[in-house]
């Protein structure tokens, strides 16, 4: 476009010069021809004049002879008038002669000869006119003779000479005209060849270029994705491209001739005329050549942001070209982007973790930090932190390489804690996580850091706690081992003396029966009973401790089957008793089979025992749902108990009945409770004195409570 313009300008200058040259050449040529022609024509005119004068001179000569003849024969009254005429004749003749130039072909002396003859004649004429005497007649006769004689012939010749000169000049003019024609012809040919033809060629090229330019411009105008509006100096729209039609929702044909102000929303619409006028008056280029964001109005009255750039066409008339780009989408995107940016900015500002960008200079420094970083490093201002060389902040030498150019952030293992120093000198632990970024030849580390001091302290406390716990576990293991050893020795060593007491008491009874009386035998029997009772107690205590120590292995257990087995063995021990058993089928639980057998046997043995003094005894085993939990129960209609002491039932060695009423060690229910609780369940007793008792327990399926294992 630009080059086209430049070449076009050059062509125009070239054309102007060529034209100028051609005009000058033609002008000079024409002037020369004019001058030459004027000169030639002047010469021919002069020739004619001289021919006339020469003829006139000859005619005056004849008239002089006529006048002289009349004077000679005139009456005396007429003579003075004739004489005056004759004198005047002499004057005219001399004057005429004097105005005649020399003939170019004649020799000078010939002319002087003729001049002297004319002068002589004129003198003679004058003399004849003056003479009134007697010599007048001859003088007149002499004049008449002279006039008819050789002078007349000479003057004739003279006329002929002038005619010849005129012929020559005419011939010259004809030749000159011919030359002129050829000269002009060749000049025109040269001009045509060297100036006009190239010029027309150039012009054709230029016109084609201009056409291309016009097509190019039109295509640009029509295909431009941006709206293009051209207005004149008064703000009247001259052109409106298709993109502008889409942009404004208006048709180009409607817009041409309208004021551009209709495309603007208020208040721009009202001000536009002023702006335009001011621009035209002052030449102030407020908007020309700049990108501006303005509001534009659609045909439906809605306004939208556009980017406007205005150009000026300084042609014959000044026009303004406005290029408009819809910014709605860009604005929306910018707003969205700004929103996201703001969100991230808020996050970075408000997050309770240090976020930074460190530059790996020498020494490295922070380039950007968020407020949490200031708090972390106890920095009074951002500037103070940014100015701080970072290598001085690392307490340990091996950490100084961090943020240097060679530093690889991945070399920091996850969770690796770095000992740092705040600007006030306080030391703290931090976890640093960063990525390396190269930007414009510089190396940055972007990342975050968190104060790990508390976490570290917590971890240390936890470690201490763990150590303590491990120690306790060890202690507990030791205690357990001791307990086991104790149980073992109880089981072994405590029983051995009992065996001796019992055994030798019996031996005494057997071997010395004759020497021991009834009271002695009774005492020995009591010794034996007591030792056997103690053996039972020891067994029960051992069982109880085994319940606590045994491993819990849950398998599906059929309590109904266990209840039946137990009932059978109880019946077998005392076949005479009449007891009604009601055992519900399908009482399944997920529990330790060995322990559950102990539970059932304890509960059923209790029921069996406490119904022993009642006729029509009934022992029932079943289940029911209470509050979503399934409860297994063993119910009897035996002696029952006072609910006031219900909580004491499950205590070790707690008995609610005198030994002489119902024997037992008072450990059975304690074992039951311990087993049920180890399964995460609970056991509950209901009853009333004389009305029976009901023991119920739950065994949750999930092994969610094994708290009493140890």
């Amino acid at each position: 476009m630009e080059s086209t313009e430049v070449s076009s300008e050059r062509t125009l200058r070239h054309m102007t010069r060529a034209h100028g040259g051609a005009i000058v050449i033609l002008g000079v040529l024409a002037l020369a021809i004019h001058v030459t022609l004027a000169h030639r024509i002047g010469a021919i005119r002069a020739d004619a004049r001289f021919i006339n004068r020469a003829g006139l001179e000859r005619m005056q000569l004849q008239r002089s002879a006529l006048l002289a003849a009349r004077l000679a024969h005139a009456a005396p009254a007429e003579r003075s008038a004739l004489r005056a005429l004759l004198r005047r004749q002499a004057h005219i003749m001399w004057h005429l002669w004097r105005s005649l130039p020399a003939v170019r072909e004649a020799r000078t002396h010939a002319r002087e000869h003729l001049t002297s003859r004319v002068r002589a004649f004129v003198t003679a004429l004058r003399a004849a006119a003056q003479d009134t005497g007697r010599t007048a007649a001859p003088r007149l006769k002499g004049v008449v003779d002279a006039a008819h004689g050789s002078l007349a012939i000479a003057l004739n010749r003279r006329v002929l000479a002038y005619q010849r000169e005129a012929d020559r000049d005419n011939t010259d003019l004809a030749l000159f005209s011919r030359d002129q024609f050829f000269l002009m012809l060749s000049a025109l040919t040269a001009l045509t060849l060297f100036i006009f033809m190239p010029l027309s060629r150039l012009t054709r090229t230029e016109i084609r270029k201009m056409n291309d330019l016009v097509a190019y411009t039109r295509t640009l105008f029509e295909a431009a994705p941006d709206g293009i509006v051209v207005i004149d100096e008064r703000g009247i729209i001259e052109a409106f491209n298709p993109a502008a039609e889409v942009l404004f929702g208006r048709a180009a044909e409607d817009m041409r001739g309208q004021s551009v102000a209709v495309l603007m929303p208020e208040p721009d619409r009202s001000r536009h005329a002023d702006h335009l006028r001011r621009h035209l008056e002052t030449g102030e280029r407020r908007i020309i050549g700049q990108l501006r964001e303005v509001m534009a109005a659609r045909s439906d009255g809605t306004s939208f942001p556009v980017e406007l750039s205005v150009g000026v066409i300084d042609g014959r008339r000044r026009r303004f070209v406005g290029l408009l780009r819809d910014l709605t989408a860009r604005k929306a995107a910018e707003r969205a982007l700004e929103l996201v940016r703001q969100r991230y900015q808020d996050l970075v500002t408000n997050i309770n973790a240090g976020i930074f960008r460190a530059e790996a200079a020498n020494p490295p420094r922070f380039a950007e930090v968020n407020p949490a970083m200031l708090a972390l490093f106890e920095a009074p201002t951002r500037e103070a932190l940014l100015a701080q060389p970072l290598d001085a902040l690392f307490v340990r030498d091996e950490d100084r390489a961090i943020f240097s150019e060679q530093w690889d952030p991945t070399s920091l293992g996850p969770g690796r804690e770095i000992l740092l120093r705040t600007l006030r000198g306080r030391e703290f632990w931090a976890v640093i996580s960063a990525v390396r970024q190269g930007e414009a030849g510089r190396i940055y580390f972007d990342g975050f850091m968190e104060d790990a001091t508390e976490r570290r302290e917590a971890a240390e406390a936890l470690a201490a706690l763990n150590r303590d716990l491990r120690q306790r576990v060890i202690d507990l293991d030791v205690a357990n081992k001791e307990l086991e050893a104790f149980s073992y020795s109880v089981s072994h060593d405590l029983r051995a003396p009992l065996r001796s007491i019992d055994g030798f008491s019996q031996a005494l009874l057997e071997d010395y029966a004759d020497r021991v009386d009834a009271a002695g035998r009774d005492y020995l029997a009591r010794v034996r009973a007591a030792s056997q009772k103690m053996a039972h107690l020891i067994d029960d205590i051992l069982q109880l401790s085994r319940v606590s120590r045994a491993r819990l292995v849950r398998t599906p257990v059929d309590l109904s089957a266990i209840a039946r087995d137990t009932a059978e063995s109880l019946k077998a021990d005392d076949p005479d008793r009449q007891v009604e058993w009601r055992i519900e089928e399908g009482l399944g639980v997920m529990a330790d089979a060995v322990l559950m057998r102990q539970v059932m046997s304890n509960l059923l043995a209790n029921a069996w025992k406490f119904t022993s003094k009642r006729p029509g005894a009934l022992i029932e085993v079943g289940q029911r749902l209470t509050g979503g939990a399934r409860e297994i129960f063993v119910r009897d209609n035996g002696a029952g108990f006072d609910m006031a002491y219900a909580d004491r039932l499950f205590g070790v060695f707690q008995r609610l009945h005198a030994s002489h009423d119902f024997d037992g060690t008072g450990i059975g229910l304690a074992i039951v409770q311990r087993i049920v609780r180890r399964h995460g369940g609970d056991v509950h007793a209901d009853g009333a004195v004389g009305e029976g008792a009901r023991f119920s327990f739950t065994i949750p399926d999930e092994e969610d409570s094994d708290a009493s294992r140890h």
């Binding site: 089981s491 072994h492 051995a496 003396p497 065996r499 019992d502 030798f504 019996q506 034996r528 085994r546």
Partner: protein, 149 residues
């Protein structure tokens, strides 16, 4: 009842009271086999693996060994383990006779090849009954493996 005097019973028992009561129970139940006493595990092993025991004219290997578990020097389970490891005593009937009713002792005892496990009851009457059944089974009903296995 077949006379069984020719072979002895080895009683490994450190408690003299228990030894006496056991002997009494044997006597009361007419078990007349000679009883060899070992007061700890080491004595028991010494007896069992002594040349003289197995030599001509010696006591020979016991027809039954009653083994307590809690013993001075070498405990009963170790004695059992060594008996079962030796080809000579591998098939020797061994009954564990102990105060312990610990599950682990039971399991371990049987695991090491005990032929029976009897817990000594405190009640002497019951003890007598247990010894009677023991003698009946092991000394009368059971066919012992050859003395030199």
């Amino acid at each position: 009842m077949r006379p069984a005097t020719e072979r002895c019973i080895l009683l490994v028992e450190d408690n003299p009271d228990d030894e006496m009561l056991t002997r009494r129970a044997f006597a009361k139940n007419n078990i007349t086999n000679p009883v060899v006493i070992a007061h700890d595990g080491a004595e028991a092993l010494e007896y069992l693996f002594d040349e003289k025991t197995n030599a001509e004219g010696g006591q020979g290997l016991p027809i039954l060994t009653l083994l307590d578990l809690k013993l001075p020097k070498v405990d009963g389970l170790t004695v059992l383990r060594q008996l079962r490891a030796d080809p000579r005593t591998r098939l020797l009937p061994v009954v564990i006779l102990t105060s312990s009713a610990e599950q682990q002792d039971l399991v371990e005892g049987y695991g090491l090849g005990a032929n029976s496990y009897i817990r000594k009851p405190v009640d002497f009457i019951q003890f007598m009954e247990a010894v009677r059944q023991l003698g009946l089974y092991w000394l009368v009903l059971n066919s012992a493996p050859p003395a030199t296995a």
